[in-house]
Amino acid sequence: MVDAFLNSVGHVANGSVLLLMMVGIVIGLLTGLLPGLGGVVVLVLLLPFTLTMSPFEAFALLLSTYAVFSITGDMTSILIGIPAHPECAALVPDGYPMTKRGEAARALGATIFSAMVGALIGAVMLFLLIPVLRPLVVDIGSPELFAIVLLGLAMVGSLSGKSVLKGIVAACFGMLLASVGTNAQTGIVRYGFGSLSLLDGLSLVAIALGLFAVPEIMELHARGRHGVSERPQLSGGVLTGVKDVLARPGLLVRGSLIGAVMSMLPGLGSAVGQWVAYGQAAQISKHPERFGTGVIEGVIAPASANNSKEAGSLVPTIAVGVPGSAAMAILLGAFVVVGINPGPSMLGTHLNITYFMIWMLVLANVIGAALSFVFLKSMARISVVPAMTLMPIVSALVIIGSAVSAARWSDVVTLIVTGVVAWLMRRAGWSVVPVILGFVLGGNAESFLWISVGTYKTSWLHSPVVDVLFALTIVLAVGTAWRKSRSRRRAVASGTVAEADGPSRAWTWGSLGLAAGFTVLGAVALTLAWHWPLEARAFPTAIGGLLVVLGLLEIGVEVRAMTRHRRATPVGDSPAGAGVSPGADVGGVGVGAVPDAAAPVGGPAPDSLVPEPSGTRVPGGGAGLAEPAVAGTATGVLDAAPAAEPPAELPVNRSLAGLGWFVVAAALSYGFGFLIGMIVFVFGYMMSTRRGLIRSALMAAAVGVAFYVLFVLVLNVAMPIPLIGPSFI
């Protein structure tokens, strides 16, 4: 064992290995910024280069790329509210509001430090526990996985914002989306409507970008010349972010362990751990209602989980030869290419390679984080770039990212439709986070359930592990509902939140419309599924039925609330909450502040465009009016209250105009290919926003050149074919 360890150190010190590791780190950090591309695509592009390498060189290149990929992916979630990859989406609900408040540097500092420490914890866990983890990975069967997925779904309560009912309805909507496509049990195509594009189901990339990116793009347009954050000072926040992490060791360790353990379970998918980590952070906090408003805990937990997952997913890959994720499938391919059979030999004759891989994870993360810290302040400046400058670039990246992930235009349609629904949900005070959770976990739940039933009939229900997990799920769900209800009652009693606080009147109608829409969708899903075989219809029927029942219940709640509003509002007055966004809802981050209107009541001086960042001062000391309220949490640390009052909504017509531009960009790409489409779009957009002819032309040309060099010359990814013909890209 000592020999193997020393041998691995010797290989790490090899010049070519170190060089390849550095190359991998740079590639990983750069490509991690590109939406939709995914670490899998980058790894597969690197794979051919490893054919002639030694195992150590090959793993140095591949693992270092893979290890740092999420670090920069997290950055886009925080800076512009757009997850570069589905695995980074959980950073949006709290990271992006922090950026809006001028705390981009702090959020980024916390994220990168959490990611680095998370990766180290994952690597140490891998180092210490591989011999005993093998039985754990093997013994967790489909019934236990089903129970774990249910436990994950119980997090919906914590991620639902103000209304648990709305959250469950949204999660059902996500699960229904997951049931689109060819059913694994029967082979029949569910909700395919004869479309080839739907045979393989809806794309996770398109759904994640639709839920989080499109509403942000709409709001970017609405912001006009203002930046995402108008706070001019960006310095100092990075260190505060690091200190935030150090002050919350329990949260950091829990997030890291959750990320590592969830990624150890093959079949769960790599996007699950971050949400579970986020959910547990909200669950344990005394103020779960603040999650989604920009609390640092909501950044630390998913960031640490996101990078510890790399080590976790290595466990089944090297210990049992089963890839824990798509990226690990490629790594497994690399094992075979370099002539190594993963499995028990990795703990015996090839133990030195296992140690070497752990070294690579550790070194790549430390160096990757250090490199990121160097450029962090520059990155944070993106938050003060005029939104109308970001909007066309981000639109181009998001459209290209969603279309090239599977080289099909239908994903762009999914992106736009999901985006519109997400924008409506956010405006009407619905959290979109449960939708992605339902989508990610829904398919897993169905598969694991059928495998359990097919294999064990009903006997699996008597498994002690399954029963304990079920009990935990119930406790979690009921506990969350009770705590939320208590928290709300207290807030109402203390006057912090008005009884009728919520969306404006127009958006109350919008919320009612959404509830009605989801109810109708559930009914349609039920009707269409009726004639399918039992195995194909059971899941969508159950979810559709639940959607109808809960949707009707939500309609009742909405109608009652509207009636109360009407009674409570004197004739001639605007209703309570009018002009106030849902604000504090998890995932309701799209409704950002018009900077001039963002100053909190009694907050900073009128000339200050954004409130003081929460947590930038020593809690409890020098309390100004903008000083965040602090409260002890179950984590034993301080949980900052949101610094600002709910901001005013951005104008709807400007947001819709943003959607119009986005659709134009997609249509131009579909018609003429990305190159012409994006050049024309960027030029047209810049001209229409009066950025000047020269600047517009330069920007359009830059986007065109960047696209061609990056996606065509360097990455050479498959592109969908535009209407004009296959010779155009």
Binding site: V40, V41, L43, V44, L47, P48, V137, V138, D139, G141, S142, A184, Q185, G187, G194, L196, S197, L199, D200, P266, G267, V320, G321, V322, P323, A326, A329, I330, L332, G333, F335, V336, V337, N341, P342, G343, P344, A406, A407, R408, S447, W450, G454, T455, G673, L675, I676, V680, F683, L693, A697, A700, A701, G704, Y708, A718, I721, P726, S727, F728
Partner: protein
């Protein structure tokens, strides 16, 4: 001024937007020897990155340039969607007829065409084959489920066969094979890949599986080495007079025919056996490179020459063998015959295959 600049931007964009390599279509009449000089061939696969098809495509892309006259550059693109239909339609009908775009379909694409499933209206029967890489199947059984045929036949409960979904050659293999051997079997679908099925076997959740040889090598061989499972049979290569013979690279595993003969004392016959022979043809065809129907003859000649040379090279054979678990190429002539015979399947035989693909 503005219009002039906009025009300039558009002209520059138009000039640069042509796909790389597509401008070379004018060389159609050149000889095979020079057809691919300085060009880039794209192999399109329906497989997602890291999948079996993707790995095969990337291995081919690595070695083919050395053998195709003119030494073109070969790249791989993943074109998922429609269970392979999108890839096939793009290569057969949409991409330019310049000999630079090839598809790498697998037997699932062939089965969709044979069963006339939705979206299978691609001209598979007219697409010329360049070469193939076989995809041998190995049926493994968990030792605790029974160590010999007699024990398996006497089981009170059917063998639980782990699989991702109905419709693939693995399901056909287990349904037909166990059916012939009178072993009760029940398919359990929903696993997310060959790896999770291997885990299910290790923990005893599944009793049997039929992985492709590549997956056997990466995920199942370790189980076999540790005595948890044993290779029960391989389908085998098509032999003379409706028989099956051992694949050279899997020579230590008995064929389904051998196991049957050992038990029943005579060679298998009948409709089920005919369906197994069709399955053997599919396995032998495996993954195959094909081009659009009207590909320039010079391009086809160069591609076929190059592929056959590559397949005959011991270095490549070894790599295919170690990476894809015994995969070899049978040559483009034999692959074309195999495909033609498969696509001509009809009547009861086709129904048998379709039922077997659905685990019936």
């Amino acid at each position: 001024m503005g219009i002039v600049l906009l025009s300039l931007v558009l002209v520059v964009g138009m000039a640069g937007c042509a796909r790389r390599g597509s401008s070379a279509g004018g060389a159609a009449g050149d000889k095979a020897a020079t057809f691919y000089q300085g060009k880039t061939i794209t192999i399109t696969t329906k497989s997602s990155p890291g999948g079996n098809g993707d790995t095969t495509a990337r291995l081919l892309a690595q070695y083919l340039p050395d053998y195709i006259p003119g030494h073109p550059h070969v790249v791989v693109k993943n074109n998922a969607g429609g269970a392979g239909s999108v890839m096939m339609k793009n290569v057969a009908q949409v991409f330019p007829n310049d000999g630079l775009n090839l598809a790498l379909p697998d037997t699932a694409v062939v089965l969709r065409w044979m069963f006339k499933q939705a979206g299978s209206d691609y001209p598979l029967d007219k697409m010329p084959i360049i070469g193939d890489v076989t995809a041998p199947l190995v049926v493994v059984v968990r030792k605790s489920a029974g160590t010999d045929l007699a024990a398996l036949q006497k089981r009170a409960q059917p063998l639980k066969a782990g699989s991702t979904a109905p419709g693939g050659t693995g399901v056909i293999d287990m349904t037909l094979g166990f059916g012939l051997l009178n072993i009760p079997v029940k398919e359990v679908y929903g696993y997310s890949g060959a790896g999770p099925v291997a885990l299910a076997l290790e923990r005893g959740e599944a009793d049997t599986a039929s992985p492709a040889a590549g997956a056997y090598l990466s995920s199942y061989k370790t189980l076999s080495d540790r005595g948890i499972v044993y290779p029960f049979y391989q389908v085998g290569d098509p032999g003379p007079n409706n028989t099956l013979v051992r694949s050279p690279a899997l020579s230590e595993f008995p064929t389904l025919q051998e196991v049957y003969q050992q038990q029943f004392g005579h060679a298998p016959t009948g409709p089920e056996w005919n369906a197994v022979l069709k399955l053997a043809d599919m396995v032998q065809l495996g993954l195959f490179l094909c081009a659009r129907p009207d590909t320039p003859p010079a391009a086809l000649t160069a591609l076929r020459q190059g592929f056959d040379k590559m397949a005959a090279d011991d270095k490549v054979k070894t790599k295919l063998n170690t990476t894809l678990g015994g995969a070899v190429s049978v040559g483009n002539g034999e692959a074309a015959t195999l495909l033609k015979n498969l696509l001509a399947t009809s009547g009861d035989l086709l129904t048998s295959l379709e039922n077997a693909a659905n685990g019936k």
